[in-house]
Amino acid sequence: MSKFKKKKDGGLPPISTASLPDIVFMLLFFFMVATVIKEDNLIIQNSLPKANQIEKLDKKKPISYIYIGKPSPNYIDTYGTEDRIQLNDKLQSVEQVQAFIAAERAALAEELVPTLTVSLKVDRDAKMGVLTDVKQELRKTNALKINYTTKKGDALDN
């Protein structure tokens, strides 16, 4: 006979999962903060080429995106198979690039206007013709800071 009760024998105590919600919430908050929900719904094909002499774009400075590529398979019936320009959510013609830049500038604070960078997201299989026209339009509207947005990789494998 012992004074002390014997501890329950056998069986591991169940693992406490009480802190699981806390862990999951922590992860959740991380992803909520780090997330950038895709801004533009692409109508065109847009797989970027690779390059390795790249610089990161500063997200704090204003960036406007111009997409160039062939329409995606779903839209070929509507838009054909030639390279097209996408501004915001719509396919536009070259002449509308200037208006687009003007609208982007109007939405900015005045002191930020000269820092506007145009990110050109051009499909790797696109031809230079449309891009050349877009560059001329950008020059006319004096949006001279551009960035050929690419993936990181060896340019020789393109």
Partner: protein, 211 residues
Amino acid sequence: MAKRSAPEVNAGSMADIAFLLLIFFLVTTDIATDSGLSRKLPPWEPPTDVPVIIKEKNIFALTLNSKNEILLTSGGDSELVPLNELRGQAVKFLDNGGGEGKDVCRRCKGEGDKASSDNFIKAVISLANDRLTDYKTYIAVQNEILAAYNDIRNREFKKDYPSLEMDFVQATEMYQDPSTEPKVKENLKEKLEAIKAIVPQKFSEAEAKRD
């Protein structure tokens, strides 16, 4: 009346709800930051009648045709160059140092060929493309030219500022990093500008040919 204690809220399903949200954000997340080749376009000016005269030996002219072939015209010769030799050729041209008298290039390590570029400041790389050139070829060529400039700038940066123990590209990255202290930035900016002045990017792009 019996004293009732408030029933405890069952928090068991909290984890499930949190998981659901977590999975939603996991799927929609796109953490990738944008990066690419930064360039500056020349301002739009009405064409002037006065042509700029550059000695032929100081021009490294690249032409991309509709079949994505690269034609290099330099020092009076024209030849097709494969993409993987382009960087080496460009470095050789920039680093040639064939100048004499006031055009002499003290920093150049090249062969000093009289038929090639005088010095870093005189050397111009020009690129013309066809409207039917593929974008991926164009980007690869742009990348290789930038790489050639960066190679030389790295070398000069290391030579001038060995105490920093980094090269030009690393210093540029550090300068652009928002977490770098302003004092360090100021210091770096000065050095980067100095190297940029020694090895300027004289890179011109002609308008695409109409066909």
